[in-house]
């Protein structure tokens, strides 16, 4: 796969019609050769937008980092991207917009995606959704990515959620229980209801996958019904959202068959951050069993099963250390409400 990235143009506007016009120019490739047939053909074969992506950043330094993530994301999810920087505290009302096109070449075919950075100060910062709405490509889903802790109680949050089909957050980014509860409320509200995606939930795929595999093994399914406890060890930095979600997941799954699983959370001082160990205890006709997943240095998981006093063959598998754009990509491909996540979130809070 041959790839080449480059920025085609970057121009600044303040009027929504001018932004729309510039986007059309960028979208249909009229900059190269001023609308030549070749340029139009090249542009026509390059369109592969899969979504509108709105990212909200809280300050100017964050803008560069978020832009880099979105650049890399465009490789798997070519989208029209709007980056919103709302600064309510500045006194003077001001609105700036910058339109640019990112180009890459893949196997000889040019793919172009557009990006608009909207930077608002003062009153316009409260109404950025009204500017974002006309800039979206019709008939494509709208994803709202809010890095950091969203401003849940602001009109901007509600307005953007109303525009969006999906809100993507990262609960690993300092979310406490109150934030998790607010997130669940967003998922469940009747009006402006966006489905919720969480990069932290995507990080747990490997843990869920391997834990489920234990009970695919012949004879092990019966033990699943005999779970009597789960211990989750997490890092010492005090951030527990990931561990809570993992616990919420197994609790919510087992609740579907009428089993209430007691959860125990403990700190593992040897790791700073994230889930380190996941232990499932069961009873069984041939004695107790312990199913364990342990994080190893170097992004690996060690799986072990102890049946009575017998250890079965251990296994080492990869624990994907996914970059933000990869996690976003996973969240962007999920259709509709992620019911499992919402149930896990609910169970984590109970």
């Amino acid at each position: 796969m041959i790839q080449n990235h480059g920025e085609l143009s970057a121009r600044t506007f303040v009027d929504v019609h001018a932004i729309q016009e510039e986007l059309d120019q960028v979208r249909w490739g009229l900059h190269d050769g001023a609308g030549s047939e070749a340029a139009q053909h090249a542009a026509a074969e390059a369109r592969a937008s899969v979504s509108n992506l709105i990212a909200v950043v809280s300050n100017e330094p964050e803008l560069g980092a978020i832009s880099s993530v979105l650049d890399r994301l465009s490789v798997t999810n070519p989208s029209r991207t709007l980056i919103l920087l709302a600064q309510h505290t500045r006194a003077a009302d001001k609105l700036e917009a910058q339109v640019s096109a990112q180009e890459r070449t893949e196997s000889g075919h040019r793919v172009t995606t557009e990006r608009v950075v909207l930077h608002a100060h003062g009153e316009p910062a409260r109404h950025l959704a009204s500017l974002a709405a006309p800039l979206l490509i019709s008939d494509l889903p709208v994803i709202l990515w809010w890095p950091g802790r969203p401003q849940f109680d602001t009109p901007l949050f509600d307005d953007l959620c109303e525009l969006a089909d999906r809100l993507v957050v990262d609960t690993d980014d300092g979310f406490d229980d109150a934030d998790l509860a607010r997130l669940l409320k967003v998922a469940r509200r009747k009006k402006a209801q966006a489905s919720i995606g969480d990069l932290n939930w995507a990080r747990l795929i490997a843990w869920r996958h391997v834990a489920a595999q234990f009970f695919d093994m012949p004879g092990m399914l019966a033990r699943l019904a005999q779970i009597h406890g789960v211990s989750i060890f997490h890092g010492s930095d005090g951030l527990t959202a990931q561990a809570r979600l993992l616990g919420g997941w197994i609790r919510s799954r087992m609740a579907t068959i009428g089993i209430d699983v007691p959860l125990e959370f403990r700190v593992d001082e040897s790791f700073e951050h994230g889930v380190c160990q996941f232990l499932i205890y069961t009873r069984g006709d041939d004695g107790p069993a312990r199913f364990s997943l342990s994080r190893l240095r170097g992004n690996r998981l060690l799986t072990q099963i102890r049946l009575g006093d017998q250890d079965l063959a251990p296994r080492t598998v990869r624990l994907d250390s996914r970059a933000t754009e990869e996690l976003l990509s996973i969240e962007l491909t999920l259709p509709g409400h992620d019911v499992l996540f919402e149930q896990a979130l609910d169970a984590a809070l109970r």
Binding site: M1, Q3, H41, A44, E45, A46, A48, V50, V75, T76, P78, E106, S107, H109, V111, I205, A206, R208, H209, V210, A211, A212, Q213, F215, D216, M217, P218, L221, A222, L224, A225, Q226, I227, H228, G229, I250, R253, M254, T256, I257, G258, I259, D260, V261, P262, L296, G298, R300, T303, I305, L312, A313, P314, R315, T316, V317, R318, D338, L340
Partner: protein, 513 residues
């Protein structure tokens, strides 16, 4: 406090929402021909990538079997080198490889040596005992085809194929026979030991993401199926073109030719997928029933009129001068083996009656391309002036399997200006542009499917035999003709002139892929 459930669980609730419905059972894969090219280039890298992505079960084990002087450690080192060299994901994760390698062992034996099967049985018992594989076995025939029957016979006689608990499956690589008679004999030999449900005949083309995407394209989009029939389709062209020659496979190719090497399997698989009816669901028998119906419905071929064969002479491909087929290594200087075949087929059913399907495959063609191209009929009436539309070409829908995987639709559009002038333009979907992620290798998908017992993407007995029946009819026709005037196309051209003449008789032309 946890409460016990009163009724036994029937499904793993922790699996909800995960991509795979289940993990394969712990199993031992016995690879016959473990020191060969296929194991090194395809199988072991596929197993490593499955392990890396957590698709293999705990306790999964590999027993390599070959008559090669290798110790167990040397065999593991050979496999490690193979993964290092051929894995699609790099760098290789040493800990994951080590975890997989702990389950790899080696048994040296000639494939016909009965005593060797006693040692193999003992090794399988050890693996069951120590790694919990519970008698589940995949026997993978990665050998030359002449050993298939011998190995199956010994597996039966030694009791390994039926011993104890657990499931037993056998994977057979292509070529599955070299004519109908040998395919039937091989089927009979395998069925003397294994049932049809235990047999997995691989055509790796079916494991390709883009071939499966043809099924999705047809049956998950409501807009195509209504026009996918004789009323709207003028004809279909299916091409598997290769720009390479026979490389070092002269000895094999002399006994196979393009008809057996590509037409019998890849081309007929693509035909079946393009022409089949929608299956009621995607299970093995539903899909294969529909594919077999297509093969059953092929109108008897008039070999003299409907088939063209060719062989390349010297020429230029991609700016390089290349020898003719008869000058290749291990090829007879007077060889009449075909390196090109074009076939005109008709399918006798309500959907396709009188709609020609043109299939072609060849070596040393100008470029590499596999595609299914559908030409739609012209509109019944054009309200535009004749001068405005005479250059208009028909609508084509092209599904590209490789390279540049995706689909194109050729449509007419108005050229901007004060007068009505039309031009044909392409609407392209590039698989890579929308899903720029690396696809798994076909072998990963197929090995995993086999371990899960899903035979949807494997060829069934009747499918293979139908395909060979068609090949035999063509071979018989050729046998009754005078020797062909080979070579009859230059390397770097699109095949012999007769192939052009065949389609031009019908007022059509081959596409340039």
């Amino acid at each position: 406090m946890a409460q016990a459930v009163t009724t036994p669980l029937t499904q793993n609730v922790l699996r909800d929402g995960l991509i795979l419905p289940r993990t394969p059972d712990p199993a031992a894969m016995v690879i016959f021909g473990a020191s060969g090219d296929l194991t090194a280039r395809k199988l072991m890298p596929a197993l490593y990538n499955l392990a890396l992505n957590r698709y293999l079960p705990s306790g999964f084990s590999v027993i390599g079997v070959a008559d090669t002087a290798l110790s167990e450690d040397e065999f593991r080192a050979h496999m490690a080198d193979a993964v290092q060299k051929f894995s699609r994901t790099q760098p290789v994760d040493r800990a994951v490889w080590q975890s997989l390698a702990e389950g790899i062992s080696f048994v040296r034996m000639p494939f016909d040596d009965e005593s060797g099967y006693g040692r193999l049985a003992a090794e399988l018992d050890r693996v069951d005992r120590e790694r919990g594989t519970n008698g589940n076995r995949v026997f993978y025939m990665a050998t030359a085809p002449q050993f298939f029957s011998v190995i199956i016979d010994r597996l039966g006689n030694s009791g390994i194929a039926k011993a104890g608990e657990g499931w037993k499956r056998v994977v057979i690589e292509k070529p599955f026979g070299n004519d109908l008679k040998s395919a039937q004999a091989l089927n009979k030999a395998i069925h003397s030991v294994f049932t049809e449900q235990q047999i997995f005949r691989i055509d790796h083309y079916l494991g390709k993401e883009t071939v499966q995407n043809v099924l999705v394209f047809r049956f998950a989009n409501g807009i195509f199926e209504p026009i996918w029939n004789r009323r709207y389709v003028d004809h279909v062209q299916i091409t598997v073109a290769e720009d390479i020659g026979i490389e070092r496979r002269g000895k094999y190719y002399e006994t196979a030719g393009a008809l057996r090497d590509i037409f019998q399997n890849h081309l007929l698989q693509l035909l079946s997928i393009a022409a089949m009816e929608a299956p009621p669901n995607f299970d093995a028998d539903s899909v294969r029933d529909e594919k077999v119906k297509v093969l059953k419905s092929i109108h008897p071929i008039d070999v003299g009129k409907d088939v063209v064969r060719g062989q390349y002479g010297p020429g230029w491909v991609g700016g390089q001068q290349v020898p003719g087929y008869r000058q290749e290594m291990n090829v007879m200087p007077t060889s009449n083996t075909e390196t090109f075949v074009a076939v005109r087929l008709k399918i006798d059913n309500w959907r396709w009656a009188d709609t020609p399907f043109y299939l072609r495959t060849g070596k040393r063609l100008p470029s590499r391309a596999s595609e299914i191209a559908i030409q739609f009929k012209n509109p019944p009436h054009l309200p535009f002036a004749k001068t405005a539309v005479e250059e208009l070409t028909p609508n084509w829908l092209v599904m590209r399997i490789q390279p540049h995987e995706g689909a194109s639709l050729k449509i007419a559009a108005k050229i901007p200006g004060p007068v009505m002038r039309l031009r044909t333009v392409n609407m392209d979907f590039f698989y890579g542009s929308s899903f720029m992620v690396e696809s798994p290798d076909a072998y990963e998908r197929l090995v995993l499917d086999c371990m899960l017992g899903d035979a949807t993407l494997f060829a069934r007995e009747d499918e293979v035999e139908r395909a060979w029946g068609l090949v035999d009819r063509i071979e018989a026709g050729w046998a009754s003709q005078p020797a062909p005037p080979f070579p009859n196309y230059d390397a770097g051209t699109w095949g012999p002139a007769d192939a052009d003449a065949m389609i031009e008789q019908d007022g059509r032309r081959w596409r340039r892929p």
